[in-house]
């Protein structure tokens, strides 16, 4: 008798509780977030995400150390500048995470099994976008909150600082959400095109850099280019929104940047849904 027969409890129908849409989205989100961070995966899968997260935290650590040794307040970066500093790290992290979550499911044809359950395209997108964005928040919101804490500790009265700058925490949340939504949606839209993770990561990072370089090159060809090219530059689009949120609007105004950002996010999500539908059909 084999081992399975010894433990055979007999077939039985499942009669327990059932949950709906939120369970499906949460299950895919948690599974995706863990996978993207390399949790319960070989150590090789943990290196890239954790290295990028630690790199993004370096500026805040430097600020904290400078606070301990009694440095001047002027040494601290602004929230918007800090987000600009981590933009490249965020790009690489979201590219890696999106590829990890989508390309493998495409290549291994797991998508077909996932959609054999009552999972809709929108639920799948929401869970993947949520997982990549949550990972992105670790290199955007976490350093910004760290910077907020450093500022608070540096202020004469921490409690007073907290009361008077509570709105900054809301700005940090909104700015981080806008930036990670932009990077995560684009990274997912590009990742769904590829079976191979490496190809997806290289294409996403190279795509951003090439478009940014082209936008900057275009700006030098026209006198007023310095104004509108920012709306073509994938780094400047979210950065303009961030600067607007923190009270320093870009040349074309924050609304223009916000409209472009929202348009890109919606287009990327729509493209992702179309591609998913094609992959499973």
């Amino acid at each position: 008798m084999d081992a399975s027969a010894v433990h055979d409890p007999g077939y039985r129908r499942y009669e327990g509780p059932r949950e709906g849409r939120s369970r499906r989205v949460r299950a895919l989100f948690v599974s995706g977030f863990r996978r993207a961070l390399g949790i319960r995966r070989p150590w090789r899968a943990k290196i890239a995400p954790w290295a990028l997260i630690l790199l993004a935290l370096i500026p805040v650590q430097v600020f904290a150390v400078s606070l301990l040794v009694g440095s001047e307040e002027g040494d601290l970066s602004s929230y918007a500048d800090l987000l600009r500093d981590v933009a490249l790290l965020l790009l690489v992290l979201t590219a890696i995470a999106a590829a990890e979550l989508v390309c493998r499911e495409r290549r291994e044809k797991t998508l077909v099994l996932i959609f054999s359950r009552p999972v809709t395209g929108a639920e799948y997108l929401a869970s993947k976008l949520g997982a990549v964005a949550a990972l992105g928040a670790l290199v955007t919101a976490v350093p910004l909150v760290g910077l907020f804490v450093v500022r608070m500790l540096e202020a004469d009265g921490a409690a007073d600082f907290l009361v008077h700058h509570l709105l900054d925490l809301v700005r940090i949340a909104v700015a981080s959400a806008a930036v990670v939504a932009f990077y995560a949606s684009l990274a997912l839209a590009l990742a769904i095109l590829f079976d191979r993770r490496g190809l997806a990561i290289v294409s996403t990072v190279a795509g951003f850099l090439v478009v940014a370089l082209v936008a900057q090159a275009l700006s030098t060809l026209t006198d007023d280019g310095a104004r509108w090219w920012a709306l073509l530059d994938p780094f400047e689009v979210p950065q303009g929104v961030v600067e607007w949120i923190f009270g320093d609007p870009p040349a074309l105004g924050g609304v223009a940047h916000l409209i472009v950002l929202a348009g890109v996010v919606i287009a990327a999500c729509a493209f992702f849904l179309l591609r998913v539908r094609r992959v499973i059909a």
Partner: protein, 307 residues
């Protein structure tokens, strides 16, 4: 008996290539085979039954729900085991089957318990925490079956479930599938081109050819839809018997040295009378059950001649 699948004039093309050309069938609860050669339209039909595709014409209903409009409701009650690779190589089997349970709506604790239970059921209890990538083809097929069942479906669609398995593994898989119906009351639609598998676990069959349903019904009905076959065992080589039966218009073929196969209606009465009258050295006369392969080949030949 409850009808679980209704196809009415279902048509589906990929560009200019028709995959299904007006398929009609009704499938009752129980175990049913979807039989056909490669390219007959089996996989397209399964995708229509899951709502992955919308038909170009006709209607598809599963468990009383129309597809693809009510695909989500149907997928809550249907499990699917696709053909070929579809498993995440670096995920432990229990983790993946647990995720599939949660996608079927089970809370995490119940999902973990069900996943573990199902993996024991399919014979992977000891290996359930190992990454699927290290599994053999047969073990992967078992994981695919476990994930198809973990959310407690009323109907499972199995696409070539014994594909790539060795004879022992194939036999065990068929036993598992047979138990689904007998012990759990889960209806099974088994898509395959292996007619031996069908005869072992299915009560009914839908035979597809070139995008059309040639015939559907119970295996007995399908086998009975032709002139019956009878085997005659004789004490000698049976030449006078053969000559006499052929003279009376029956089709006779030799089975072995002292046996004949006779096709036609009224054979038992005729043989009994002639044997008594002429003292034929008759040892045994039995009706031979027509195999599904006989039926399938006959239908294909008829379809080819009609085409």
């Amino acid at each position: 008996m409850e009808t679980i699948i209704e196809l009415s004039g279902v048509a589906k093309s990929y560009g200019s290539t028709p995959a299904l050309r007006g398929a009609d069938a009704e499938v009752q609860a129980g175990s049913t085979a979807l039989v056909g050669a490669n390219g007959a339209g089996k996989t397209t039909l399964l995708k229509l039954l899951l709502g992955f595709l919308a038909p170009d014409g006709g209607s598809v209903r599963v468990l009383g729900r129309s597809l693809p409009a009510q695909a989500r409701v149907v997928r809550e009650k249907v499990g699917y085991m696709p053909e070929g690779d579809c498993l995440p190589g670096d995920s432990p089997a229990a983790e993946f089957v647990g995720l599939m349970a949660q996608l079927g709506g089970l809370p995490p604790r119940h999902a973990r318990e069900r996943a573990s239970e199902l993996l024991w059921q399919v014979g992977l209890g000891e290996e359930r925490h190992r990454p699927i990538g290290g599994f053999s083809t047969g073990m992967k097929q078992r994981v695919k079956l476990a994930q198809a069942l973990v959310h407690g479906p009323e109907l499972v669609l199995l696409d070539e479930p014994t594909d790539g398995m060795d004879p022992t593994g194939r036999s065990e898989m068929l036993e598992l599938i047979d138990r689904l119906r007998r012990e759990l009351g889960v209806s099974v639609l088994l898509s395959t081109h292996l007619l031996g598998d069908v005869e072992r676990v299915c009560e009914r069959a839908v035979i597809l050819d070139a995008g059309r349903v040639l015939v559907h019904g119970s295996l007995e009905e399908l086998a009975g839809d032709a002139e019956p076959l009878f085997e005659l065992d004789l004490h000698d080589n049976g030449q006078p018997v053969r000559d006499e039966l052929e003279r009376r218009g029956l089709i006779v073929s030799g089975r072995n040295g002292s046996g004949l196969v006779v096709r036609g209606t009224g054979v038992p009465r005729l043989v009994r009378d002639l044997a008594a009258e002429r003292s034929w050295p008759l040892r045994r006369l039995v009706m031979r059950r027509r195999s599904l392969e006989d039926v399938y080949l006959r239908l294909q030949r008829a379809e080819g001649q009609a085409g």
